[in-house]
């Protein structure tokens, strides 16, 4: 398994690796990350705040839900399955989800990729690089408290429509998203 900074990397896992994951060997997953393609894939990359915003900007024309989260954050972990659900449910109506992780870059392989893989996240996961976390927060909204999870919803014109600084369930996420679809 590998990741790289600044570029998109897609990880493909064979059924054999998934068996290994069930068996509890993340090390084995890491060793076999380049195995043959199956229906399970996730996208994780380390990115600077500028690259994160460039990615979000590239999705203009869609409704974009940005979620700031981390694997060490309990409410974020609880919210993540709901994110994957709404990402799938509303993709056809033009929703794109971008999960921005504030995990340390040195735990991408040990924590972020296994977590995202386990949830089979159907969206890009960008892990903030080593830059100042405050700069990232301020680049989204100067009024953010600094707590995660935080969800920010942008309309099709890229205008910030809604900010919620707490974990949301599927129903709450849908209520946030659907008026803008």
């Amino acid at each position: 398994m590998q990741y790289k900074e600044g570029g998109s990397v897609r990880y493909f896992f064979s059924k054999y690796i998934l068996v290994a994951a069930v068996a509890g060997s993340l090390t084995l997953i890491a060793a076999c990350g380049q195995s043959e393609v199956t229906n399970s894939s996730v996208s994780v990359r380390i990115a600077s705040p500028e690259q994160i915003h460039a990615h979000i900007d590239s999705l203009r024309g869609n409704v974009v839900l940005v979620n700031l989260w981390a694997t060490w954050c309990g409410p974020c972990v609880a919210e993540f399955p709901h994110l994957t659900k709404v990402a799938r449910d509303y993709a056809d109506r033009g929703l794109r989800v971008v999960a921005v992780s504030v995990d340390q870059p040195n735990v991408v392989e040990s924590a972020v990729i296994p977590f995202v893989t386990r949830h089979n996240a159907p969206f890009d996961v960008l892990v903030k690089d080593w830059s100042d976390p405050m700069l990232l927060l301020e680049s989204f909204d100067a009024n953010l408290s600094g707590a995660i999870p935080t969800s920010l919803l942008y309309d099709r014109d890229g205008k910030l429509k809604s900010v919620v600084e707490r974990g949301l369930n599927e129903r709450q996420l849908a209520a946030m998203i659907t008026p803008n679809l």
């Binding site: 409410p75 080593w130 600094g146 707590a147």
Partner: protein
């Protein structure tokens, strides 16, 4: 660690944590911070903030026992308290997380060798008064409890990558009679686990 264990840990995290409180007004720089009396986690009874009026400065730090971000700062908190003690700066740690018991706080303080007072803010009443949102988050008060600096300790959980020592810079400036180079620097960390409203 196998996936089952990982899942169990993550599930436990989920149970332990609640949402961040988004609608809390923070005591701003220049405002007078509320006095408080809270029980010490040790054997020393209550701690009253105004009793630190003889100190040149008082640093009120919201801390946690389980937050990975706050825990990354344990050594730095103690080093700061130690470095500035002889300069008349008092440090008070406040734990307002409903998920962390006093007993847990005692053990945590012992393990990490905290020499500063740690108090328990059950019901997060004082956290609400201050508008503290995350751990770690600090307020630097002068002898009249006027907030002179608010926010983070520095700019990286990873100590080797710290470039901006915001709290240290604020203390140095204030002790020299100057304004801090930066009076606010957004704190980043775990949400304070508040009681349900």
């Amino acid at each position: 660690m196998n996936s089952g264990t990982t899942t169990a840990i993550l599930a436990t995290f989920s149970l332990l944590c609640t949402v961040a409180s988004a609608d809390i007004a923070t005591v701003g720089v220049g405002a007078t911070a509320p006095d408080f009396t809270l029980p010490s986690i040790g054997q020393s009874g209550d701690v009253t903030l105004s009793e630190f009026a003889d100190s040149n400065l008082t640093v009120v730090m919201w801390i946690a026992t389980r937050c990975p971000v706050s825990n990354d700062y344990n050594e730095r908190m103690e080093a700061l308290a130690d470095d500035y003690r002889d300069k008349g700066v008092a440090f008070v740690g406040v734990n307002a997380n409903k998920t962390e018991s006093t007993e847990e706080c005692v053990q945590h303080a012992q393990i990490h060798g905290f020499s500063f007072a740690v108090v328990k803010d059950d019901g997060n009443r004082v956290a609400d008064q201050y508008g503290a949102r995350v751990t770690p988050e600090v307020f630097v008060l002068d002898s009249k409890r006027v907030v002179k600096y608010h926010g983070r300790i520095d700019d990286s959980r990873e100590i080797s990558r710290v470039k901006a020592h915001d709290l240290r810079a604020a203390l140095d400036a204030l002790l020299a009679g100057d304004d801090p180079p930066r009076s606010e620097a957004r704190a980043f960390g775990c949400s304070i686990k508040r009681v349900d409203q």
